[in-house]
């Protein structure tokens, strides 16, 4: 009986040491996770909203120009309203934090819609669209890949009710063990 008792208490003691270390490690890891996540989130948020803000400023200023020129009833102003309306629906917080998974919000689709509406507006105004950086172009390629993947996934029956639960800007949990790259953040 004594031997049994000793073994058990030894196991518990090991567990206690482990737990103590784990707790301390966890709070330290949390600090690092917050810091690294914050740095990435800042960059990503800036990148996306610099582009969207450009479109917004572009559209609003053109509206002012059209009003000044007395052309506010032209087709271009309709395009402006469309564009501004789509931008106003674009989330300013990462939806994975604020919305439940059931929310019907397709960020890549919305972004594509905004970009194409911007281009349509440009051509109706007869101006050249803003040059896209290589990064944005690469992102568009990636989005096309994502779209294809999504379409494939939709066809698989296992998706079921999770169909709308596409994580947006979700940091891949497995990816965090490796150095985090933008590849871990899905659009």
């Amino acid at each position: 009986m004594d031997t049994d008792f000793d073994l058990e208490s030894l196991v518990n003691v090991e567990q206690t040491f482990y737990d103590e270390g784990y707790q301390n490690g966890f709070s330290h890891g949390r600090i690092h996770g917050l810091i690294e996540g914050r740095a990435l989130g800042r960059e990503k948020g800036f990148e996306m909203w610099e582009e969207l803000g450009f479109y917004e400023g572009f559209a609003k200023t053109w509206m002012a120009v059209l009003v000044k020129q007395g052309k506010s009833d032209e087709r271009a102003s309709q395009h402006i309203r469309y564009l501004l309306d789509t931008i106003s629906h674009f989330p300013r917080v990462n939806p994975s934090a604020s919305e439940p998974a059931s929310e019907e919000l397709d960020i890549p689709k919305l972004l594509r819609q905004i970009r194409s509406r911007y281009k349509v507006l440009c051509s109706s105004l007869g101006v050249r669209p803003r040059l896209q950086s290589a990064e944005v172009a690469a992102m568009e390629d990636k989005e096309e890949d994502d779209t294809r993947m999504e379409e494939d996934e939709v066809r698989t029956p296992t998706r079921g009710t999770l169909g709308s639960a596409i994580p947006v800007w979700k940091i891949d949990k497995n990816g965090m063990k490796k150095p985090v790259t933008n590849q871990d953040l899905s659009f």
């Binding site: 948020g45 909203w49 450009f54 120009v65």
Partner: protein, 191 residues
């Protein structure tokens, strides 16, 4: 007594050493696994906070200014009969080109908590914390750009060294742009 150790008092030091070895081993394993778990658990929270509180508002502000200034510039170029057009055109070009130079790293606020934690590590272990790879790459490219810009500035016999713009510069550009749109009577609702 019940315990076998009591009969061998000379073993107690050995036992203490063994004991502390085991304890620190388990504590260390726990610590390592705790770090990984804590990091994973918190990184999304950090991402969301940095995204919504810093990246989005600053990006949007700069984007709005750039979008507005590009239209003002185009408008001035295409309009024929405006008073003081040449002077305003120069101003619009100046604002536009200065806005295009601004980088996120020029105007983002410091992350005090991150700086403090990095300092703690530096003091405790003498090592600097690694920056995220993607961000580190971006900063490196920016550094090269600065170097080239300064190099070509010297070659052009210009004494002026290209200083990075600051948040105050951006605020100043915003004021100048607002002045310009007011002069042009473009009623823009500034956010």
């Amino acid at each position: 007594m019940d315990s076998p150790w009591d009969e061998n008092p000379e073993n107690s030091t050995h036992n203490d050493i063994e004991w502390s070895r085991i304890s620190s081993e388990f504590t260390n394993v726990g610590y390592r696994e705790g770090i990984t778990a804590g990091k994973e658990a918190a990184s999304q929270e950090g991402f969301d906070a940095g995204f919504a509180n810093v990246g989005v508002p600053i990006g949007r502000e700069l984007g709005l200014l750039r979008g507005t200034s590009s239209v003002v510039l185009a408008f001035l170029k295409s309009s024929a009969d405006i008073d003081e057009k040449a002077q305003m055109l120069t101003e619009a070009q100046e604002i536009s080109s200065q806005l295009s130079r601004v980088r996120f790293s020029d105007i983002m606020p410091r992350d005090i908590e991150a700086e403090e934690h990095a300092r703690e590590h530096l003091e405790a272990e003498g090592i600097e914390l690694d920056m995220n790879e993607v961000i580190a790459d971006k900063r490196e490219v920016e550094g090269l750009e600065d170097m080239l810009a300064n190099l070509s500035a010297y070659n052009g016999k210009s004494k002026e060294k290209h200083a990075r713009p600051t948040i105050d510069d951006v605020q100043c550009l915003k004021d100048r742009l607002r002045l310009l749109t007011n002069r042009l009577d473009l009623g823009i609702a500034w956010s």
